[in-house]
Structure formats: C-alpha cells, structure tokens
C-alpha cells in the first residue's frame, strides 16, 4: 500500500458518508418536488442525524449498541476499500456484513416489529445480494480483474458490455435507498405495517450512527453503479445521479410491493437478466 492509496482511503472514510448524506438530502428535495411540495432544506439529513445524536433514550437491548458500531465500521470500511481500489467483491461482502449486523441488532430488540423487520431485512438481503454480486462479476469479467481501480480503468464505458445488469443495479439502488416498491418498512413512509421494521427499536445515538452507516452504504452502491460509465469522474457522477433519479421516479410512480413479490419475481427476473449478460460476456 503506497501513500497515495492511504490518502485516498482516508478521503473515502470522510467523504463517503458526507456524500451519502447529501444524496439523502437530494433524495428528499427531489421527492418533494415530484410530489409538488417545496421539501426540506438540502442539509436536512445532517440536522436529523445531529438531532438523533443528542437524544437521550434507553436502548431496547444491551447488544444493539455493539451491533450498530459494527455495522458502522463495516459500512465505512466498504467505502474505504472502494476508495483504496481494493477488491470490489470483498467490499460488497463487507457491506453485506453491515446489513447483517443491522438485522442482528434488530433481532436483539424487544418489539415484535423489530424482529419482523429483521426477518424481512434478511429476505431483502437475499433478494438483492445475488443480483448485485452478479453485476459486479460482470464488471470484473469485462475489466479483467476484481479491484476497483481496474473497473475504473476499463476501456470505454462498461455499460455497452452489460446493458442487462442495469435493471438489477437499479433494483439494488432502490432497495438500498429504502424506497418503495418494497414493503421492507425501513423507509420514512409513515404507513408501514411493521412500523419501521429493522429500525423500530433503534433510537437516539444508535439510530444516528445507523443513519451514517446507511449513507456510507448508499455511496458504495451508487459508486459501484457509476462504474458503468467510468471514463471520467464527471461521467461517474452523472451515472450515479441518473441511477438516483431513476430510483426516485420509480418510487414515486409505484405502489409498494410486498417482499414476497420482490423475492419471488423481481429478484429472479433481474438475476436472470444479469446472468444472461454474464454468460454473454463469456461467450464473446
């Protein structure tokens, strides 16, 4: 590891959550505009986290604090790994670990909704993980290596080689942004049958840290999506922005489908598309 990588890693550590927070802010403003509202200030997510930080509340379980920290570390680590050009597949696994810790903390809680939410979170994990992984495998195949820098150094936009993974990645972005179309119940939507699912029992500072972890996750996912057109930093930002916007529009033009639909239909379809793309890359 040279010094340059080190600087990049540190930048990833600090910037990624900030970018994620900003994405959350954009998300809320654009959502509001799509709904003909003025919406909150762009910095609103940061205020929210600041507010949560200063709240005093008893934890719902002794273990939650620990899992929250682990999740945060894992999420940040996945950012750092990307920034430092590490193996993208491992980066993905590390991020999945973060999601697992969130679910575990929810299992430890004492509200039935929290546990129900944890179960659903896991099924959601099951739905998007393979799709995402196959997407990464496609990129790796085209780039000839598994590390982030090779992805970015690929000749020309990867998109043309893997158009079929776009629906899959969009699905992942939707899930990771915690948007409808799925009733995973961790989103802001007030009408949720499992209250806030995995997040039900997290509160105060723990919840704030989870929010930061979530930002980091969103950054990673959008970042990986942006590899599809990684010819310059600008195109990467634009690609990520397009994914974000598409996700917001989908959120606003569709009803929330159940996780059974997600697992039984959306995931298989996107997975098959992505697999077809992967096989095609091999046959070429």
């Amino acid at each position: 590891m040279n010094l340059n990588t080190f600087y990049l890693a540190v930048a990833g550590l600090i910037l990624a959550p900030l970018v994620g927070g900003l994405v959350a802010g954009v998300d809320r403003v654009v959502t509001a505009r799509l709904q003909s509202r003025m919406g909150p200030p762009l910095m609103q997510p940061f205020y929210d986290v600041g507010k949560l930080m200063s709240k005093v509340i008893a934890p719902a379980s002794h273990w939650q604090g620990m899992f929250v920290r682990w999740a945060l570390v894992a999420s940040l680590a996945s950012d750092v790994m990307l920034a430092a050009g590490a193996d993208v597949l491992m980066c993905f696994f590390v991020q999945a670990a973060s999601a697992s810790f969130v679910a575990l903390g929810a299992f430890c809680g004492n509200s039935p909704y929290s546990k129900l939410g944890a179960q659903r979170e896991l099924f959601q994990l099951l739905a998007y993980e393979p799709v995402f992984m196959v997407g990464i495998l496609c990129m790796a195949k085209a780039a000839g290596a598994f590390d982030a820098y090779s992805f970015m150094a690929a000749q020309g936009p990867l998109l043309f080689k893997m158009p079929l993974i776009v629906p899959g990645l969009l699905f992942v972005v939707l899930v990771k942004l915690r948007k409808s179309p799925f009733d995973i119940a961790a989103s802001h939507h007030m009408h949720q049958e499992v209250v806030r699912g995995v997040y039900t029992d997290y509160a105060g500072r723990d919840f704030a840290l989870l929010e930061i972890a979530h930002w980091a996750d969103v950054t990673v996912v959008l970042w990986i999506c942006s590899f599809l057109w990684a010819t310059s930093p600008l195109t990467m930002v634009v690609t990520a922005g397009l994914f974000l916007f598409a996700a917001l529009v989908i959120d606003n033009i569709s009803a929330r489908l159940t996780w059974r639909t997600m697992l039984g239909r959306v995931a298989p379809i996107t997975l098959i598309l992505a697999t077809a793309n992967l096989v095609w890359l091999y046959l070429e």
């Binding site: 799509l34 709904q35 033009i253």
Partner: protein, 124 residues
Amino acid sequence: MKMLPTVISNLFGKAATRNYPFYVRDNFEHARGELINDIEKCIFCGTCSRKCPSQCLTVTKDKTEGTWALEFFACVGCGVCVDVCPVNCLSQKTSHRPVAVERAVITMTGKLPERPAKKDKPAE
C-alpha cells in the same frame, strides 16, 4: 407507470406549497375564527352561555358590573352564540385563534347597561 406524467409535471411545475408562515393567504370572508366580544355593547343577558353547545361561556353579573368569561380552549367556534346574541356584540374574526402555551380563560368585565331589561334573570 401511469403516474409518470403527473410526477414529471410536478417536478417542473410550481410547487403547490403555500410557504406559510412567510406567506399568509388572506382569510375567507366568512371564516369562523376567533370569538370576540365587544364588551361595551354586551348586556350580560347570558343567552350565549345558555345556547353554547360546548358550555364554555360563563356570564355573571352583580348590580353594576357584568363578567363574560370564555374558556377558549373549549370553544368549538360554532358561532351559535354569535347567532343568538340579542345585541350582536359577539363576532368571529376570520383568523384562527393563536396557539397558547398555557391554559387560560378570557375574562371580560363591563358595566351593566343603565336600565337592564326587566326580564333578565341573573345567569348562573
């Protein structure tokens, strides 16, 4: 998918939001808002207090002075009292009553009219 045109036109159109409190729309002419009493005109007959469905008005009087008290936290703004007041001293503003941080009762006192009508019984 069917919602797409609406959503997109929302995005590029003007937001429907009225930026209250920075922009306050004029109240409608007949809006039933805050109840006020022109206490100078009040004869403390107590009709309003008897007809009020929420029983939030208390009218008392002694020889010279009358008191008209409104428990405004219980007033439902129906305007019945306004309708029944024989001297039309009650009216409703068009604006809503401001929020409060403490419980209170609005109490107004006024002089009794020179010659109170003889049918007037003291209100409880």
